[in-house]
Every structure is written in structure tokens, then in C-alpha cells.
């Protein structure tokens, strides 16, 4: 009975009820979508790691095939993109085969990824194609690629060639995807993300939307109670409306999530700078189901809690009990959360704390809001000089809870936006710190000990040879080095400059060289790096690289373009993630303000009409309505932004304190302006809405 | 006088004068006027009840006349209520 009754009541509730349900459905759909997308984070990372597995094949990899093979994998670069090159030689009829490949290419054969095939077609051979000598016999399938546009090629060689190649390994098997990632740390991140950025605003949104439409709904519930419904029955009827909105929202959110997956795959670049496979953007089924069940349940629970005071009396709220004013204790959860965060960052990485602290901050923000509004209203009352501001101050002081409630969505959204913006700014700064020391046009070929005879084609006039001496020392003449790199003599110069040297020397364990030595006549030490100057054009550099690929297949090469490209890639991730996040934030802010402004106007039509009838000018009334929203909004947004900045500065060490970019402030300002514009929407309507004759008096 | 004064009158269209007189005399002579008004109210209500019962059973022609009487008795009652609430002020003014 109650179910069909509730459904019919919800549907028959008129424009107001339908509008409420539509708004709730919209907010919840967005929330569901975001939750599902957040859940894809772990699978994306996991599949990334899994896809990378076969790249990590070494001689110690467990056997996957009866016969061994010879293997040499190198990450090469072309024009700022990684190109992965694997030289293989089968040592039997059934060698280990990487995923996505039907059979291992034999000598003179090459298997490439589709993207590489396309690239090779469009570039002169001596810059790229020649690095993969042989006939293309097939393409690498999706299983063997990290991303659809990955550049990978497998070159088949003869076993003799491979045995002569420095760095070739004998493998018995391809490295398989191993245990799952260490999820503990990742789960903390994901969970915190979910809690702070999504559940919080959504709950606030739902509880706010639930409370609107007060008068008519209270009459409805009072009538039902009078007819003999228990509190439980009344609550169920109230929740039916929410449940219906929530169920449609869940469906819509799920469909939206499916629709937006390709977009996410396009935007998400995991440090390799390439859009990933759409199939990888998939929330695990169990977790997705949990979300689809939990969100409507959460919405219904919020409704039940939010409506509790109303459903009690069959007389409606004829004698409303005034709530106690907010006390100082409300600030405690916020302070505790910030302290917890500080403790977390500086001292200890407790997993429980890393979830509890952000949640405490979020809850604390919501709890502190009314208190802040109350104090703002007291200050306003003291400073007010005319009747309008005094009235507004008293109204806010009389009910700071609803004053805050109407702006809480916007304030939380601004808080979230500030956190995101500051983190992005931090990323930007740390990314731009990096600068290459190689001079323009110089190609550093890290042969890492390849036999010198084989390097003869690379060594010509002007090439600087750096050797590796005992104890990880680099033997190179500083004056020579100065010709190809921005260094200062004597070496090492970075101990007093603090610069990065990632591209200068790549020693086995990727550590900085332990020291330097001056070359002596004994030139028997193995060659570490060849610095080959070119005329600086990209074509010339790529030709050198192609040459190096064939002469020293195991060598990695760097130019000064590479480091910058990497940095740009990292930046691009944040830069692309930020606009959608800001859009979401603005959406939430605008939605919640619209809801509260419009319904506030509708509910207070009669008092406003009375005020007008008793002599208040329309302009004054408008100013009053605007102030009523603007003052709590300004105060809480300032508070939210302040707390966000505080948090981010806590998370980051003092040397990296940086203000967000201008773009962020513009975005934030735009958000605030948009919020104000929304609250101003009601103003033109006020004239019509509160005209004396348009309000029916009983 | 002792007997006449506290006794409530039957409501009639010309009752006002008698009622008013009784109240004033009661006040002047120091008798409890509020009790008198209460009794009068109850009497009025009783008559209204009888008339209403009759009216509910009567055809329209008769009921219109009964309605007329009822409305007038109701008007009297309104004055009685009004006088009750102003009694102390009224008495002070009369005694003066």
C-alpha cells in the first residue's frame, strides 16, 4: 500500500514536487557518474602495470615456452615520444612470444604496433624506419600495447647477431602480469578522493533539496499523520519521492558513465602521455554494483534524517521549537581534521588517519558553517547603518542553519576547487623545474659499456667520449664536456647548483655518478656515453638515433628536447583534468544556489509581499534578498578557500609553497560570480512574485 | 428585585433593553453581574438548541423564520460576550 500511495503522491505533487525530484535526480546522477569514474582509477593503474609486464622481461623471468630466445629491449625516442624497440632471436621452434603477437619475428622480419606502422610510413627511413630493419609481417594486437597509440616494434634477428650485441639476454619466458599493485596506498587515495570530493557535496546537496518545498509538503505530512499514519509510514512516504528520483538518477548516472568512458580514456594519460584503451576504464563489477545500490540508499537515508523534525506532529509545525544557536564546539571537527592531516604528512602515514582526517575536515566544514554565519551576522548587525542590512543580519542570526544550508553546496564546491587548483599549481611548478643540461642538437648515446669496436660508426670528429671508471666514476675531460653540455668546470658542478642531471649520465642503477676523473692515456675503460653534436635539427638528431639503434641496439639516447617533453606530459595530465573538475564544481555551486534561491523566494512570497505593502521599496527588498545570500556565501566561501589553502600548504613542504596560477583564480572568481549571478536571478522575478495582488491570502 | 435581577430573560427581539438594564442595575447594586451574564448566555444557548432542533426537522418556509430568530439570538450572545469581557471597566465607569 504505502509504496503505490507514495508513488502517486510524489507524481501528483505538482510542479514543485516534480522540480524537486528532477533536481535531486540531476545531482545524484552526476554523483553516481563521478563515483563510478573514481572507481576506475585502480583498474586503470592495474591494467597499466599489467600491460607493462612484458616490457620487463629479463633472463630471470619464469619460463612460458619450451624454447628460449635472445632478447634486448630498449626505450628509444622519436621526436619526444617513446619508441620501444625489442630485438629478438628465437633459439628454437617454440620460443616465448609477447602478448598481442602471433609469432616471434624471424631474422629480417619485424612486428610493429599500428601507431608505429603509421608513423614509419610518413617519415624518411633514416630517421625511424631503419631502426627496425626488416619486412613488416604483422601488427601487435591490443593485448601487447599499453595504449592504442603506443609505438612498439619487435625486430627479428639471427641468434649470431644477437649474441654479438651488447646487452642481449637469454630469456626462457615473457614476464607475466604479477600480483596486484600494492593497493593499500592506492586505496587510501581513491577512498579519500571519493569521500571528500564526491560523497560530501552529494549528501549536502540531497539534504538541501529534500528540505525545500516546506509548506506544502508539511501540510501533506500533517494530513497523513492526522489520518493515523505512524511516523514510520510517514517517513516511508516521504522517502518514496526521493527513492524514485534516486533510482532514475542511478540509471542515468550509469548510462552517463558508460557514455563518458571514451572521453575519460582520451583525457587520461598515465605519464606516458598517450590516451589509454577505453576497455581499461572499467569499474570492477562488484564495486560498481555497490555504488549503484549505495547511492539511492544514501539519498533515502538523508531524506529520512532531514525530515525527522517535520514528521512528528499531525498539527504541522504550528509551534516550531527554536533551535539552539550554534556553539563553538562546531569548530572542533575541522580543527581536528586539519591537525590530523598535519600529523599524517609530517610524522606518520597511518592508513586509518589518512581516511579519517579528510572526512573530519569535510564534516567539520559542514558543521562550522552555521557558526560562521552566525558570527558574520552579529558583525553585520553591529556595523549596519541602514534598515535593510539590519533586517538581514537579524534574519540570519535567527536561523543561521538555513542561511548556511542554502550556500553550503557552493561553499563546499569552492573548497574542493581550491584544493584541486592548488595541487595542480604545485604540479606545474615542480614540473617546470626540470631543465636539460645538454646543449641544443647534442644526442647523448648511453652505450653503457658496449664494446668500443662496435661503436666505430658513431665516433667521429667532435664526438665526446665519456668512459666509466671504477667506483662509478665518469672519466671525461671537462673542457670537452663543456662543448656538449651546460656544465661548469670543475666537475661536479651540480652540488652547488642543484640542477637535475637525469639526461647527462645514465649509470646502471640510475644513480648520480659518484665522481669524476680526468681522462688519462689509458683508454681501455668501457665507454659510458657518447655525446654526438649535430646541427640541431630534429631530422639530424633522429638520424643519429637511427644509426645508434643499429650500431648499439641496447643504448638509450637523449636530447635536450626529451626532458621538456616529459614535463609537458605530466603537466598536460593535470591541465586536462582541471577544467572538467572545475566545471563540476561550478555546476554543483550553481545548482545548489539556484535551488535555494528560488525556493526561498517561493516560500517567503507572503512575508515579502507584506513588507512591500507596508512600504518597503522594491529596490530595498531586492537588496535584502541579495544580501541574505551574499553574506553567508561570501563568508563561507572565504572560509572554505582559506581552509583549503591551509590544507594544501600543510601537505607541501615550505620550500614548495606557491600560489596557484592566475587561471585558477580566474576560475574561482568566475565561480563566485556565477553563484552571485544565480542568486540575482530571483531579483527580477521578485517584482512580479511579491506584488500584493498576486499573493493569495486566506 | 432580588429575584428578578439574577433571573435570565427569554431571548426576544426587544430584549436588549431589559438585558442592558439588568446588567447596569446589577452593577450599581453590587451584585455579581458576570454570573448573571453567564446564566443568560446559557439560557440563550439552550433556546438556540431548541430552535435548531426544530429547524432541522422543519420545511424551508418555517426554517427561514427560525433562522431569523437564531441569528438575532446569536447577535445577543455576541453582545453578552462583549459585555462580559468589558465588565470591570464598565462597572468602574458606572460607579463613578
Amino acid at each position: 500500500m504505502s509504496l503505490t500511495l507514495g508513488i502517486r503522491m510524489a507524481l501528483a505533487g505538482g510542479r514543485e514536487s516534480l522540480a524537486r525530484m528532477a533536481l535531486m535526480a540531476l545531482g545524484l546522477a552526476v554523483g553516481v557518474m563521478l563515483l563510478l569514474l573514481t572507481l576506475t582509477a585502480l583498474p586503470i593503474m592495474q591494467s597499466h602495470v599489467d600491460r607493462l609486464a612484458w616490457h620487463r622481461t629479463t633472463e630471470a623471468s619464469p619460463a612460458t615456452a619450451p624454447d628460449p630466445a635472445l632478447w634486448l629491449a630498449v626505450t628509444d625516442r622519436y621526436a619526444g615520444h617513446d619508441v620501444i624497440r625489442v630485438n629478438v632471436a628465437a633459439l628454437g621452434p617454440r620460443p616465448p612470444v609477447p602478448p598481442g603477437v602471433e609469432k616471434l619475428p624471424g631474422p629480417g622480419e619485424v612486428v610493429v604496433s599500428p601507431a608505429l606502422a603509421e608513423l614509419m610510413r610518413s617519415i624518411p627511413a633514416d630517421q625511424l624506419r631503419d631502426r627496425f630493419p626488416g619486412r613488416v609481417i604483422g601488427t601487435i594486437g591490443d593485448d601487447g600495447l599499453i595504449a592504442p597509440s603506443e609505438l612498439v616494434g619487435i625486430v627479428g634477428r639471427t641468434p649470431e647477431e644477437m649474441r654479438k650485441t651488447y646487452g642481449a639476454l637469454e630469456i626462457r619466458g615473457i614476464e607475466q602480469p604479477g600480483e596486484p599493485l600494492d593497493v593499500k596506498a592506492l586505496w587510501q587515495l581513491v577512498f579519500t578522493l571519493i569521500a571528500v570530493l564526491i560523497v560530501g557535496p552529494v549528501v549536502v546537496f540531497v539534504s538541501m533539496v529534500t528540505r525545500i518545498g516546506g509548506a506544502r509538503r508539511e501540510r501533506r505530512f500533517a494530513a497523513i499523520r492526522l489520518a493515523g499514519a505512524t511516523r514510520w509510514q510517514t517517513a516511508l512516504l516521504a522517502a518514496t519521492e526521493t527513492a524514485m528520483a534516486a533510482l532514475t538518477a542511478t540509471l542515468a548516472g550509469f548510462l552517463g558513465y558508460q557514455a563518458i568512458r571514451p572521453l575519460v580514456a582520451h583525457y587520461v594519460t598515465l605519464g606516458h602521455g598517450m590516451p589509454i584503451f577505453v576497455a581499461d576504464v572499467a569499474a570492477p563489477v562488484g564495486q560498481a554494483l555497490a555504488v549503484l545500490v549505495a547511492v539511492p540508499a544514501l539519498a533515502v537515508a538523508t531524506t529520512l534524517v532531514a525530515l525527522r523534525p517535520v514528521q512528528i506532529s499531525p498539527l504541522g509545525t504550528r509551534h516550531p521549537v527554536p533551535r539552539r544557536p550554534p556553539r563553538v564546539w562546531r569548530l572542533i571537527p575541522l580543527a581536528a581534521g586539519v591537525l590530523g592531516l598535519w600529523y599524517l604528512v609530517r610524522l606518520d602515514n597511518n592508513p586509518l588517519l589518512s581516511v579519517a582526517a579528510p572526512m573530519s575536515i569535510l564534516v567539520g566544514l559542514v558543521l562550522s558553517g552555521p557558526w560562521v554565519c552566525q558570527w558574520a551576522s552579529r558583525a553585520m548587525a553591529r556595523l549596519s547603518r541602514n534598515a535593510t542590512t539590519l533586517i538581514v543580519a537579524r534574519r540570519i542570526a535567527a536561523d543561521p542553519y538555513s542561511a548556511f544550508r542554502s550556500v553550503s553546496g557552493a561553499a563546499l564546491a569552492m573548497f574542493v576547487a581550491t584544493v584541486l587548483g592548488m595541487v595542480a599549481a604545485g604540479e606545474r611548478v615542480s614540473a617546470s623545474d626540470v631543465e636539460s643540461v645538454l646543449r641544443q642538437g647534442v644526442v647523448a648515446v648511453h652505450v653503457e659499456g658496449a664494446p668500443e669496436e662496435s661503436l666505430a660508426p658513431l665516433i667521429s670528429d667532435g664526438v665526446v667520449v665519456a668512459r666509466r671508471g671504477p667506483g662509478l666514476r665518469i672519466i671525461v675531460d671537462c673542457a670537452d664536456l663543456k662543448r656538449v653540455a651546460n656544465v661548469r668546470c670543475p666537475l661536479p658542478w651540480w652540488s652547488y647548483d642543484g640542477k637535475s642531471t637525469g639526461d647527462l649520465f645514465v649509470v646502471p642503477q640510475r644513480l648520480a655518478p659518484r665522481g669524476f676523473a680526468v681522462p688519462d692515456t689509458d683508454s681501455s675503460a668501457p665507454v659510458q656515453t657518447l655525446f654526438i653534436p649535430t646541427d640541431g635539427t630534429q631530422a639530424a638528431e633522429e638520424r643519429v638515433r637511427t644509426l645508434a639503434a643499429n650500431v648499439a641496439p641496447g643504448a638509450r639516447t637523449h636530447t635536450n628536447r626529451d626532458l621538456a617533453a616529459q614535463a609537458i606530459q605530466r603537466l598536460a595530465t593535470w591541465d586536462t583534468a582541471l577544467p572538467p573538475a572545475m566545471v563540476f564544481v561550478l555546476l554543483v555551486a550553481a545548482c545548489s544556489l539556484t535551488v535555494s534561491t528560488v525556493t526561498g523566494l517561493i516560500e517567503r512570497r507572503r512575508p515579502f509581499a507584506l513588507l512591500r505593502a507596508s512600504g518597503m521599496r522594491l529596490g530595498e527588498l531586492r537588496r535584502m534578498v541579495l544580501l541574505e545570500t551574499v553574506v553567508p556565501l561570501g563568508v563561507t566561501v572565504a572560509g572554505g578557500v582559506g581552509v583549503a589553502m591551509l590544507i594544501v600548504y600543510l601537505l607541501v613542504s615550505p620550500t614548495q609553497w606557491v600560489l596557484p596560477s592566475g587561471g585558477f583564480f580566474i576560475g574561482l572568481g568566475a565561480g563566485v560570480l556565477a553563484a552571485l549571478a544565480v542568486s540575482a536571478i530571483a531579483l527580477p522575478l521578485m517584482d512580479v512574485a511579491t506584488r500584493h495582488d498576486s499573493v493569495r491570502f486566506e | 428585585m432580588e429575584r428578578w435581577l439574577p433571573e435570565p430573560e427569554d431571548p426576544q427581539p426587544q430584549l436588549q433593553t431589559a438585558l442592558f438594564t439588568k446588567v447596569v442595575l446589577a452593577l450599581l447594586s453590587g451584585r455579581p453581574a458576570d454570573e448573571f451574564l453567564d446564566e443568560q448566555r446559557l439560557r440563550h444557548l439552550a433556546v438556540m438548541h431548541e430552535l435548531t432542533t426544530a429547524r432541522r426537522a422543519a420545511p424551508l418556509r418555517d426554517s427561514m423564520l427560525l433562522d431569523y430568530q437564531l441569528f438575532h439570538i446569536e447577535a445577543d450572545l455576541r453582545w453578552i460576550d462583549h459585555a462580559s469581557s468589558r465588565l470591570d471597566v464598565f462597572s468602574a465607569e458606572i460607579r463613578l
Binding site: M1, T4, L5, R8, M9, A12, G13, G14, S17, R216, R219, R220, A222, A223, I224, R225, L226, A227, G228, A229, T230, R231, Q233, S313, P314, L315, G316, H319, E698 | D38, E39, R41, L42, H44, L45, A46, M48, H49, L51, T52, R56, L70, F71, I73, E74, L77, D81, S85
Partner: protein, 225 residues
């Protein structure tokens, strides 16, 4: 005489304002009792306490030997569904349900199957002259029709008592007479008592007994007919 509802020494204050200061009242089975008094005298509050809608600060309310003021909310809701009926001045019809379902509401809330409840409500329509408006919403019918629907709803579950708080307050005299007539007649037919709060003597005249409430107390003098 059989006293079906008794209220003793009832006190109730709202904040600082006392509304009832020791009111005593008893209702006989099947009688129509009118509570009259000036505004602010506490008559509505007395009605609400007797009906179990409000809890008195002190005193007791006894219905059929059971203490209504001590009952939990679930029990009181059940009373409102089955033993009590209500006709208030405003706002007791659910705006979103058609008249027919509003009438059937107490039965529906009590778990009666929908078809049975609506059939029972159907029977009430002609008795109160509502045949033509069964499918309309409360906002679409006149005040008198709305109050008549409220009467049907109050009586559909065969209650022992009907509580009416200014049922004719917003009606003109003709509609008011109709409503009172229907209320009293239908209640008598079902042997249900009526406790009526009104400030209009013409409406109180429909009652068997009138009691005056003043300053939160029931004035002793009552007229028995």
C-alpha cells in the same frame, strides 16, 4: 451514563504561555459535545490533548479505560486510524490525492487492501453529496465539499469519537449548516460521539451539551438538554 473519554487536571504550556490550567472534561458515549469559549481560552488545545495529538504536561486522558497520554506514538496513530475521526478547519486533506482516496486514507494506512478501501469510500460519496467530485483533487473542490469529504474520512473507519475543530470556520452560513447537519446526523447514525470546538453559537446549537472553556479551564456550568 457511559463516559467514553475523560480528561482530568490537564495542564499544557507552550513555552512560557500556559494554555491549559487544570482542565477537566468527560465525554459521554454517543453525545455531541460543544466546547465554546473566547479565542485563546485553550479549547483547541484541550481538544488536541483529548484526541492524543498533543501530550499534556500533566494530567491524564483516559479513553476506554486506557491512558491515552501515556501511549507511544504508534498506538496513538492506531487510535487516529480506527477509534477517532477528525474534521479540522483546514489542511487535513492530502492535496495530492483525489477525494476518494482521501476518504479511504485511514483504511489504507491501516493495511486494508486498496480495492476494499476504495469501495468503502465509494459508499460514502452519495451520503454526503460528493458523487460528482470523487476523482477531483482537494484544491479543485469548494470548501464545503472539502469539509464533507473530511467528514466522510473521519467516519469511514467507524470511530467511537469524532473531533471537530472549527469545522465550519471558513464556510458561509449555508454551507456551514449543511456540514454541521451531516456531521451530527452521520455520527449519530453510527453511534459515534462528537467533540466540537467552535466559537459560533449557531454551530454549537447542534450539540447535545455545551461546555465553556475559559482561561485554560472548563467552566463548571454546563447545560444538559
Amino acid at each position: 451514563m457511559n463516559k467514553v473519554l475523560i480528561g482530568r487536571r490537564l495542564h499544557k504550556s507552550f513555552g512560557q504561555t500556559p494554555a491549559l490550567r487544570g482542565a477537566d472534561l468527560s465525554v459521554e458515549a454517543g453525545e455531541v459535545l460543544a466546547l465554546m469559549g473566547p479565542s485563546g481560552s485553550g479549547k483547541s488545545t484541550l481538544l488536541h490533548c483529548l484526541a492524543g495529538i498533543l501530550s499534556p504536561d500533566s494530567g491524564e486522558v483516559v479513553f476506554d479505560g486506557r491512558r491515552v497520554d501515556l501511549m507511544p506514538d504508534r498506538e496513538r496513530s492506531r487510535l487516529r486510524r480506527s477509534a477517532f475521526g477528525f474534521v479540522f478547519q483546514f489542511g487535513q486533506l492530502v492535496p495530492e490525492l483525489p477525494i476518494l482516496e482521501n476518504i479511504a486514507l485511514p483504511l489504507l494506512l491501516g493495511g486494508t487492501r486498496r480495492r476494499t478501501a476504495l469501495a468503502a469510500a465509494e459508499k460514502w460519496l452519495p451520503r454526503l453529496g460528493l458523487e460528482s467530485v470523487g476523482a477531483r483533487l482537494p484544491g479543485e473542490v469548494s470548501g464545503g465539499q472539502g469539509q464533507r469529504a473530511a467528514i466522510a474520512r473521519a467516519l469511514i473507519a467507524s470511530p467511537r469519537l469524532v473531533f471537530a475543530d472549527e469545522p465550519t470556520g471558513s464556510l458561509d452560513s449555508v454551507a456551514a449548516d449543511e456540514v454541521m447537519e451531516l456531521l451530527v446526523t452521520c455520527a449519530k447514525t453510527q453511534d459515534a460521539g462528537v467533540v466540537l470546538v467552535t466559537h459560533e453559537p449557531r454551530m454549537a446549537a447542534f450539540a447535545d451539551r455545551t461546555v465553556t472553556v475559559r482561561d485554560g479551564r472548563v467552566v463548571e456550568a454546563a447545560v444538559l438538554r
